[in-house]
């Protein structure tokens, strides 16, 4: 069985899955728009949650949130299931496919054989769309790949029941009913407000602009606190979270700039065009940080100097983002 599901390659898995599903159900939607409506942009540094034994640093909102918020704001009715038993999870997936419904699934990257081997880490918040099954293989539209891929049932089973941080527990999600009327503009405004709130107002030191500043403070201390080798690993991990397959560059900031550009046309708001350019600048600044950090990693130069310079770069990003989101909030509420 095979559903005629148009695959489009995108930068990020969850917003790509959301955009591809919306597209399938008749709403032409770009990845950037899905990302923006879902309030995808974020920052958090959570040292007590470990990914591959290193502190969680994320540039996006938590897994599942983009899909949940985008569909909610557009008024799409969705079904969502988690499972305890892998056999039941597989039967339910087959049943949904047989009913002609493409299904989104959360998986662990480590067990997906079609990933380049060097990218297979224990990262459990990867999203894809299953759109068919032939013999013992699932047909998968994985938005970060150029073409649709195939995956053996037993590998997908392992991937859906990956363990550790952010364990997917076989999670499936799918569209049940599209709304009669779609108000994309209102959804976009809600998404922007949400992102401004998340980046500026959440009263926790770990998240948003505060989180970036916290990371800057901690990062400057890493060489003294962790020793050379470990400090470099921590630093490399931040760069990988920022740039690894699926961010579109600059820790999603460039993707968000693309959204603001699209939103400017959608909302007839010229201020957003200028803010989009500023968001591009922020993204480029993050990429400068990545280049500088990778040089430190490569050159193994772990003086206190190099780390405190990197911390200054981060503070610069934080300052720019603070101004950007303050102005963005003003532009959207005026």
């Amino acid at each position: 069985m095979k559903i005629d599901f148009p695959h489009r390659q995108f930068a990020h898995c969850e917003s790509g899955v959301t955009a591809n599903l919306l597209n399938y159900y008749g709403l032409p939607c770009s990845e950037a728009m899905a990302f923006g409506i879902g309030g995808g942009l974020f920052f958090a540094y959570v040292p007590f949650v470990k990914i591959n034994f290193l502190p969680l640093t994320t540039f996006r909102i938590g897994p599942g949130s983009i899909f949940r918020k985008t569909t909610k704001r557009l008024g799409v009715k969705v079904g969502r299931q988690k499972f305890k038993d892998s056999r039941a999870a597989e039967q339910e997936l087959d049943r949904l496919l047989a009913s002609g419904c493409p299904v989104g699934a959360q998986t662990g990257v480590f067990w997906l054989p079609y990933f380049p081997p060097a990218y297979r880490f224990h990262f459990n918040a990867h999203n894809l769309v299953v759109y068919g099954k032939e013999a013992d293989e699932y047909l998968i539209s994985d938005p970060i790949f150029e073409e649709p891929v195939r995956c053996a049932a037993r590998d997908l089973r392992k991937a859906r029941f990956a363990k550790g941080a952010l364990a997917p527990k076989g999670k499936l999600y799918y569209f049940e009913k599209m709304p009669e009327q779609l108000d994309v503009a209102q959804a976009a405004i809600a998404g922007i407000k949400d992102t401004c709130w998340a980046m500026l107002k959440i009263p926790l030191p770990l998240v948003g602009v505060r989180g970036i500043r916290l990371l800057a403070r901690q990062l400057a201390k890493w060489p003294a606190k962790l020793g050379e080798k470990n400090a470099l690993q921590h630093l490399g991990h931040v760069v990988r979270m920022q740039e690894e397959i699926g961010t579109g560059g600059g820790g999603f900031r460039l993707l968000y700039a693309a959204f603001l550009q699209e939103a400017a046309a959608l909302l007839q708001n010229q201020h957003l065009l200028e803010l989009s350019e500023r968001c591009t600048e922020v993204g480029d600044r993050w990429r400068e940080f990545a280049v500088a950090a990778s040089r430190v990693c490569k050159g193994r130069q772990v003086g206190l100097g190099s780390f405190s310079e990197l911390a200054d770069l981060l503070r610069h990003c934080a300052t720019q983002e603070e101004a950007l989101f303050t102005d963005l909030h003003r532009a959207i509420t005026r």
């Binding site: 380049p116 790949f145 363990k163 990988r240 579109g248 460039l254 550009q261 699209e262 990693c297 490569k298």
Partner: protein, 146 residues
């Protein structure tokens, strides 16, 4: 990022291309394919080097009879006893015991099969370790990334 500046520095992506968001000449955003980026290649390789280092250390320990072969396969699969316990369903204190050569040698087939299935190898392979770390990474192309 300008479209012309989208990096094409292949490394560990095994021929896959991802898309980057970039601005074209008239200032509008487009999706531009990228075959890799130096900054990413460096940090990714750095992460793998750390795993290879640890594998070599485990191999030395295993040869010296301080640890069991399970330890090598655990690290190769980027796990620690906590994660291995979650995957295998074996309690963590038992997983930790299985990392001792004497305990591992006496394990019955059922437990061994559980571990072997998880790692996708045979029991025979589970009880052996290679001479040097055998990670199947894509060939790292140094020529373009320098």
């Amino acid at each position: 990022m300008k479209k012309a500046d989208v990096p094409q520095q292949s490394g560990l992506m095994a021929g896959c291309r991802e898309v980057n968001y970039a601005v074209d000449d008239d200032g509008s955003y487009t999706l531009a394919p990228s075959s890799g980026w130096e900054a990413k290649n460096v940090t990714l390789l750095h992460a793998w080097e750390a795993i290879i280092d640890q594998l070599e250390k485990e191999l030395a320990d295993i040869r010296a009879g301080r640890k069991s072969p399970l330890c090598y396969h655990m690290v190769k699969n980027q796990m620690d006893p906590t994660l291995l316990a979650k995957y295998s369903g074996v309690p963590r204190w038992r997983v930790k015991r299985h990392l001792k050569p004497a305990v591992f040698a006496k394990l019955d087939q059922v437990v061994l099969t559980g571990y072997a299935d998880l790692f996708g190898i045979s029991i025979d392979e589970l009880c052996r370790v290679p001479d040097s770390p055998d990670l199947a990474l894509a060939e790292f192309d140094h020529s373009e990334s320098r």
